[in-house]
Symmetry: C2
Subunit: 220 residues, 2 copies
C-alpha cells in the first residue's frame, strides 16, 4: 500500500517499493485540495511506475477548512516562514494513513509506504519520525489483522533524506519527475507557480542535486 | 467534539458531555454503512440533547469493502460468535477519530468524546483501552495544535461500563433511547431486526438494567 499524492516524494517512494519487489496498490485522496491537478499526476505516476492498481478515495475536508489548501479564502503563502505554514491541513496525514490502513487490511497487505520527510520539509508535525512511529504503534492495536498476528509495518523511506537526495534516488530508479505536480496552486494543467513553499523546496532540490528541473512553470 | 453514530452508546456519551458543561460539536460519518438509518437517528439525538452543532461527513468505505456493514454481498451475522465478527469494519474507528481530530483542530477543541466500550461489545480491536490510549498519544504528535501546547484529550467514558450501566446512566441523564438506532440492518425507518449482534447486546442491556426497551422492532 503506497500513499501517492502525485508529488515528487511519494512518486519516489512508489518507485522504491516497486524496485524492492512489492506489488504496489497506490492510494490517492481527493480531499478537496486546491491543487487538484496532483490527482491527475498521481494517475500518470502510478501507470508509469507499474503500480498494480491505483485508487482515488474522496473525502471533503473543505467541510472543515482551516488550511490554505482546503479553504479558498486563505491564500497560499509565497514567502518563507519559520512557523508551521498556512498550508498545513489539520490531521491530513492521520486521515490518509487511516484510509491506507483500512484498504491495507482489506487487501491483507502488511506494508504501508508514505513519503513523509523530516529534512527539507515544511515543518508539518505529522511528518516527524516520532509521529510515524506513534501511528504504526496505534495501527497495530487497531485492526483485526494485527490482533491475529499480521503486524503492520509503516515505511517512511525518505524520512531522513534531503530533497536533493530524494531526487537523486528517484532519478536512479527511473522516476520521470516531469509527470509529478508539487505546487500548492498548480493550474488545471499541472503547471507550477514557482513561488509557494512546495515549489521553492522542489526547485532548490533539483539545483542541489545538479539535475535539470523538469517542472513546467506558469511564468518564465 | 463528540463522535455520534446515532446508536445507544454515543448518545449516552453526548448526554454526559453536555451534562459536564461542554459545548458539544457532534460529528457523524456517512461511510456507506448498511444501517444508514443511524444517521437520521444521530440528527434527532443531537437536536434532542442540545448539541451546539451536528455535522455529517461523507467517505465511501464501500470502495474498500471487507465488512458486512460495507459490502452487501456479506450477510450480517445473526448468531453469536467467539471471533471478531463480520461486522468489523477495517480501521473504522481510526478513520472516524482522525476526522474528529481534524475538525477538533479547526474548532480549537481539545476534547474528543467517543463511545467505545470494552465490556459488552463485539470484540472489535479498536474499542480496547490500549487502542484509545495509543490513538491519543499519536494525536498529540500529529497536530499543529498539540505542538503549540494545546494537548488533545480523548475521552471514552463508557470504556469500563456494561451495557446495562450505560443505559442506566443515560436514563438518568435524560436520553430518550427511542430516538437511537443500534441495529446493523435497521430498515429505512430505523426499525430493528432484533437478532444481529448489536440488537442482542442492546436488548440484553435493557433487560439487565430493568428498564423497558423502547426499541422499535420490525417483527413482533
Amino acid at each position: 500500500m503506497v500513499l501517492l499524492s502525485g508529488g515528487l516524494d511519494s512518486a519516489t517512494v512508489l518507485a522504491q517499493a516497486v524496485h524492492q519487489g512489492y506489488a504496489c496498490h497506490a492510494l490517492s485522496v481527493d480531499y478537496g485540495q486546491r491543487h487538484h491537478a496532483e490527482l491527475a499526476a498521481a494517475a500518470r505516476v502510478a501507470q508509469a511506475l507499474g503500480a498494480a492498481q491505483h485508487r482515488v478515495i474522496h473525502i471533503d475536508l473543505t467541510a472543515f477548512g482551516g488550511s490554505a489548501l482546503t479553504d479558498t479564502s486563505i491564500a497560499v503563502p509565497e514567502q518563507p516562514t519559520s512557523d508551521i505554514p498556512l498550508t498545513y491541513v489539520p490531521a491530513r496525514n492521520t486521515i490518509m494513513l487511516s484510509l491506507a490502513l483500512a484498504w491495507a487490511e482489506v487487501l491483507q497487505a502488511q506494508h504501508i509506504f508514505v513519503g513523509v520527510n523530516a529534512v527539507d520539509y515544511s515543518g508539518y508535525p505529522d511528518c516527524r519520525p516520532e509521529y510515524v512511529a506513534a501511528f504504526e504503534r496505534m495501527a497495530n492495536l487497531a485492526t483485526k489483522a494485527a490482533v491475529e498476528g499480521n503486524k503492520l509495518h509503516l515505511h517512511a523511506p525518505l524520512q531522513y533524506l534531503s530533497k536533493a537526495e530524494i531526487i537523486s534516488r528517484g532519478v536512479q530508479l527511473g522516476v520521470d519527475y516531469g509527470l509529478t505536480v508539487s505546487c500548492y496552486q498548480a493550474d488545471t494543467e499541472g503547471r507550477a507557480c514557482g513561488v509557494c513553499d512546495s515549489c521553492r523546496l522542489r526547485r532548490a532540490g533539483f539545483e542541489a542535486a545538479g539535475i535539470p528541473d523538469p517542472t513546467r512553470y506558469r511564468t518564465p
